[in-house]
């Protein structure tokens, strides 16, 4: 089938197989390898992308379901060499080690700060808690999100 969507701000059209997941189509048809797959069952959050600005799991959604919608992947965050403030906060606060969970954590953080620009520690844990990281022990992720909130606020002033 012909899929038409807005992908990282650009209108894209692609012939896709109707039974492929959004995760498969992003990685294989659009060659956007930033979105990771691990559990393929909605549990771990490695495949988190934004659908019309809201985080979802790309592994448990058919690409066909995103017809006419807007998808943001981690590749859509930076502008050229300029990292998104949330990416900068993760780099500066060692919010990643192997990086496998990072695209998901970044996109969740972008969506969280959009909804709630000054989240409390509890609100951050509640929002990001469903995404699994096997390396960092989460402390630096929390720090990164707090730093990101400050950077995003600064950027919007």
């Amino acid at each position: 089938m012909q899929l038409e969507l807005t992908l990282n701000g650009k209108t894209e059209r692609r012939e896709i197989a109707p039974h492929h997941t959004l995760l498969d189509v992003l990685r294989d048809d659009f060659n956007l390898k930033g979105t990771k797959g691990y559990c393929h069952s909605g549990v771990c959050g490695a495949c988190t992308v934004l659908l019309d600005g809201k985080p979802i799991s790309a592994c448990i959604m058919l690409a066909s379901q995103t017809q006419g919608k807007s998808i943001t992947t981690v590749e859509g965050l930076a502008e050229g060499e300029n990292l998104h403030p949330v990416q900068r906060a993760f780099v500066e606060n060692f919010g990643l080690q192997c990086g496998y969970c990072t695209p998901g954590m970044l996109l969740l953080t972008v969506a969280l700060l959009e909804e709630n620009p000054e989240p409390s520690k509890e609100e951050i844990v509640d929002y990001l808690g469903g995404n699994i990281c096997r390396c960092t022990g989460y402390a630096n992720i929390l720090k990164s999100v707090q730093a990101a909130a400050a950077l995003v606020k600064e950027a919007s002033l």
Partner: protein, 288 residues
């Protein structure tokens, strides 16, 4: 995943027509969070997937007569955040906020949660405690099914293959009511419940007695279950620690759990007893 064709009908009538014409070869999907996993594992092998996601008028919450009309395609996350739901139907918002994590709640729909008929869920017990009714459209028109008659067994509901759930009607609790949803999970709170309890109580303002009690137990039977004996124990009585403890014991005896990865029958009965006590105390406090 097996191959299938995909359609996205633009009216309920068209969706019903497709589902009826293709019978067991067709599968309806809404958010896809339950079904896409089963498709990947080849536990479902439809020839045609009918995506209900484009049907107009089935998303959102509105006030309607003595309650709320909740469109079947409303994402669970929208229920949790809706100002009206949080006000008059707080129990529903609370149960919604305990389903999985935000990623799943953004895609998962209320209708999908109800139609899937999975025993380990949070929203159906709360909807049942609030005495909701499902409206289902078929080729012969629409019919209303109270949720008490909707859940028939694990993954089995009163919805026929060709039918589409269009909305749920949830009465507004009378003044003096309070609700509470308590969930117990293994590991992180995003996991599916080992057991949960949704309780809705009404306290009589003058006598302080419990005018009405609806305790629903989830994940400890094939369907969400009203704890009839516990409810009868409490109705008309003024709540005391002893009475709450007695009702909790009755509820744990009524529960019909099965042993699985989440625990043994003995364990789940113990958990249910504690959850009923907690939910009752919390609901009564909120009612006052």
């Amino acid at each position: 995943m097996t191959r299938f064709d995909y359609v996205r009908p633009s009216t309920v009538a068209e969706a019903v027509g497709l589902l009826e014409a293709h019978g067991d070869d067709a599968l309806a999907i809404a958010g896809g969070t339950a079904t896409v996993l089963l498709l990947q594992k080849r536990m479902l092998r439809p020839e045609l997937v009918v995506d209900l996601g484009g049907l107009p008028g089935l998303t959102g919450v509105e006030q309607n007569g003595g309650g709320l009309r909740i469109g079947a395609l409303t994402p669970i996350r929208a229920i949790e955040r809706d100002a009206i739901v949080r006000g008059t139907h707080h129990l529903l918002a609370e149960a919604a906020s305990q389903v999985a994590g935000v990623r799943v709640r953004n895609a998962a729909t209320v209708g999908g949660s109800v139609c899937f008929g999975e025993p380990q869920t949070d929203l159906p017990p709360a909807l049942l405690a609030m005495n909701a009714t499902a409206t289902i459209a078929g080729s012969q028109g629409s019919r209303d099914v109270p949720l008490e008659e909707f859940f028939l067994g694990p993954y089995e509901t009163a919805r026929e293959q060709g039918e589409v759930l269009t909305h749920l009607s949830v009465p507004t609790p009378v003044p003096g009511s309070g609700g509470c949803h308590v969930k117990f999970t293994m590991g992180s709170p995003e996991n599916k419940p080992v057991a949960n309890v949704s309780a809705l109580v009404t306290v009589d303002a003058s006598t302080r007695a419990l005018a009405d009690v609806r305790i629903v137990m989830g994940a400890v039977g094939g369907v969400p279950m009203l704890a009839h004996k516990a409810n009868d124990t409490l109705k008309g009585e003024r709540p005391s620690d002893a009475l709450i403890a007695q009702a909790a014991v009755r509820a744990s005896e009524e529960a019909d759990p099965v042993e699985d990865l989440r625990g043994s029958v003995w364990y789940k009965r113990r958990i249910i007893k504690v959850l009923v006590e907690r939910a009752l105390r919390c609901a009564i406090e909120r009612a006052n």
